[in-house]
Amino acid sequence: MSQIVLRNISRRFGANWALKQVNLEVREGEFFSLLGPSGCGKTTLLNIIAGFLEPTTGEVYIGGRDITGLAPYRRDIGMVFQNYALFPHLNVFENVAYGLRIRKMKKAEIAARVERCLAAVRLEGFAERMPHQLSGGQQQRVAIARALATEPKVLLLDEPLSNLDAKLRKDMQTELRSLQRRVGITTILVTHDQEEALSLSDRIGILGDGELKQVGTPLEIYRRPANRFVAEFIGQVNLIEAQALPGADRPPGTLAFAARGHFAAPGEPLRLYAEEHPSLAGRESVLFMLRPERIRLSPEPPEGAAGVVELRIESVVYAGSAVRIAGVLPGGGELSALSSDPSFPVLPEPGGILYASWEPGDLIPIE
C-alpha cells in the first residue's frame, strides 16, 4: 500500500498560486511522470510530496496515511536531485550508507546493503571514490543507490537526467526504468522532457499554470490530448479550427467541416472529413489536431484519399531518421508534415509542390 494520493493541493507564493486544486492518485508500483514547461509548478508539487514545502491547502497521503504536516525526515521517501546532491565530503560508500547509519543498522548489515545497492546500479568497486572523482552518469547512479538504500516507500526524481548528455541520458533512462520495475517502487519523475516522460512512464500528468491539465497513459496523452494546452505541449501539431458543414457531401461514417484560415484555393476553405465521434455530435465549431507524421506527402495526387491538398513547400529540415516539411496551402494557411527518411529518393526543394493527404481518423477533435 504505497500509493500516493494528492487531494485539493494548492500552494501560494505571495500573490501567485503556484498550484491550484491539484487532485492526483499515483498507483502502487507505478512510474508516474509530472510533465510541464518550466514554472508550471511541477517541482513545487514534488517538494510538497517530499515535505520540503507545505501546501497552502490540501492533503498528501502515502499508503493511505495523511502525511501533510509530517517533517521530510519522517516520510520514508527516497529522492534524487537534478544536481545529484551527493555529500561532497563523504565517499561513495558513506553516501549510500548515510540513511542506513541514521536507522542504526548493524555494521555488517550496512556493508552488505551498500554493496547490493552499488551492484544494482553497476558501480561495484567504486565504494572508496569521492563524488568529485566520478562522471556525471556515475554520480547519478550513486544518487539513485543512495535513495533506494533505505528501501523507501516512494521514490521522487527531480529532473534527474537533465544534466547528462543526450546519449548517456538515453542509457540512464533504460536503466532507471528497468531498476524501477525490478524494485517495484512507486516512483514520481518530474521532467520537462516530453520524450523522457513518454518513454519511461506508466502514466503522465501534464501540468500547466499550476493546474493538472491531463492525466493518462503516454498513448492517451499523445493520441488524444484533452485540450489545446496538452496538444501544443506534447509533440508537434497542426491545429485547425473548423466549422461544421451539416448538409455537405461526405464519405460514409464521417462528418464534413470547413477549416478556418486554411484555404484549398483563394477564398475556398479547406474541406475536412473527420470520423464520426460522440464528442462531435451537434457541434458548430471544432478544434482539430493533425499530427505532422500523419500527413502523407506524395509528388502526384494520391488515388482514393478522403482529402488531398496541394502544398507549396516553404522549408525542408532533414533530421536523419525523419524529414520535416513545412508548406502553405494555395489559398493560405500553413501545414507542417513529418515523413520518414526513405519516403523521398531526393529531398524536395523549397518552392516545389507536394500533395498532402490524411485519413479522417487522423483528425483528432480537442476539448
Binding site: A71, P72, Y73, D76, G78, Y98, G99, M130, Q133, T150
Partner: protein
C-alpha cells in the same frame, strides 16, 4: 605555411607585450613592498644576530646570543607560551561565537536585513582602536558599568577585577576579531547547496543530525580560514593588550615593543620578532595544510 609560421610568433609577441604591461603596472606596488616590507624584514633578520654592549650599542659581531636569551630564559619561554594560548583561546571563542552569527547572516530573510547585519558586524572595525578600547575600560573598570550593575543587583559584594588581566585582553580581542571569523564561515555556509540538506532529510536525518553530518563538515574550510586570520592577528597585536591588559602582561608583542622603544635593545627585539613570526608561521601553515587537505578531499 608562411601564415602558420607567423601566427605563433605574432601571438607570443602579443603575450610578451601583455606580460610587459602587467609588470609595468605592478612596478609601483612592488617597489613599495620591497622598500617598506622586504628590506626592513631582511634588516630585522640581520639585526637579530647582532650583539650589544651594556649600553645597548650594537657591536659589529654576529652570534646566536639573542636567540639563546629568548629560548633559555624562563621569563621569555613563559611569554611565548602565554602569547600562544591567548591567541588560541581568542581563536576558539571567536569561531564559536562567529558560527551562530554566520548562520544568521546566511539565513537573513532579505537583502536589506542582510546588509544591516553586515554593517553591524563590521562596525567594530570602523571604530578607532583607542576609542574601542577606552569603551572597554569604561565598562570593565573597578567602578565601571559592569561592576556597578553587579553591585547594585547585590550579586557581588566588592568590585571584580575585570581589567588589567589576560581575560580583558581576550575579551577585547574577540570583539574586534569576530568579523574576521564570521565572514569566511558565512561564505562557506552560503555556498552549501540547500539540496544537500534536503537530501539528508529525505534520507531520514533530522535538523540536528543534518547540521552535524552535512552543514558542520562543509563549513570546516570557512572555520579554518577564519581561525588562521584571527590567530595571526591575536598573536601579533600590541595596542589592545597594552591598553586593556597593561604593559606588564607576559605577551611577546608587548615585550618586543618594550625592548625596541624603551630598552632600545634592537637585536633582542628583532630576535623575539623573528621567533614570533616563525611560531605563528608554522602554526598557520599547519592550519593551512589541514584546510588544503580537507578541500582536496571534497573537490580534488
Amino acid at each position: 605555411m608562411a601564415r602558420t609560421n607567423r601566427t605563433p610568433g605574432a601571438e607570443s609577441a602579443g603575450k610578451y607585450r601583455r606580460n610587459l604591461f602587467s609588470w609595468v603596472m605592478l612596478t609601483p606596488g612592488l617597489i613599495f613592498l620591497g622598500a617598506f616590507l622586504a628590506v626592513p624584514f631582511l634588516l630585522l633578520f640581520v639585526i637579530s644576530f647582532r650583539d650589544v654592549d651594556n649600553w645597548m650599542n650594537m657591536l659589529p659581531t654576529y652570534s646566536l646570543n639573542q636567540y639563546l636569551e629568548v629560548f633559555t630564559s624562563r621569563f621569555y619561554l613563559h611569554m611565548i607560551w602565554t602569547t600562544l594560548w591567548v591567541a588560541v583561546a581568542t581563536t576558539v571563542i571567536c569561531i564559536a561565537l562567529a558560527y551562530p552569527a554566520a548562520y544568521l547572516l546566511v539565513r537573513a530573510p532579505n537583502r536589506t536585513v542582510r546588509t544591516a547585519l553586515y554593517v553591524i558586524l563590521v562596525s567594530p572595525l570602523l571604530t578607532s582602536v583607542v576609542i574601542r578600547t577606552f569603551a572597554w575600560i569604561v565598562l570593565l573598570a573597578q567602578n565601571g558599568l559592569v561592576n556597578e550593575v553587579l553591585m547594585k543587583l547585590a550579586l557581588i559584594s566588592e568590585p571584580l577585577r575585570l581589567l588589567w588581566n589576560l581575560g580583558a585582553v581576550i575579551i577585547a580581542y574577540v570583539q574586534v576579531m569576530l568579523p574576521f571569523a564570521v565572514l569566511p564561515i558565512a561564505t562557506s555556509m552560503g555556498e552549501i547547496d540547500p539540496r544537500l540538506r534536503q537530501a539528508s532529510m529525505s534520507l531520514g536525518a533530522g535538523r540536528l543530525r543534518t547540521f552535524w553530518k552535512v552543514t558542520l563538515p562543509l563549513t570546516i574550510p570557512g572555520m579554518m580560514s577564519g581561525a588562521i586570520i584571527v590567530f595571526s592577528l591575536a598573536a601579533g597585536s600590541y595596542i589592545t593588550p597594552l591598553l586593556v591588559g597593561g604593559r606588564l602582561q607576559p605577551l611577546l608583542p608587548l615585550a618586543i615593543y618594550q625592548q625596541v622603544l624603551q630598552v632600545a635593545n634592537l637585536p633582542l627585539g628583532a630576535a623575539m620578532s623573528i621567533t614570533l613570526l616563525i611560531l605563528v608561521g608554522v602554526l598557520v601553515a599547519g592550519m593551512g595544510l589541514i584546510l588544503r587537505r580537507w578541500e582536496g578531499r571534497m573537490h580534488g
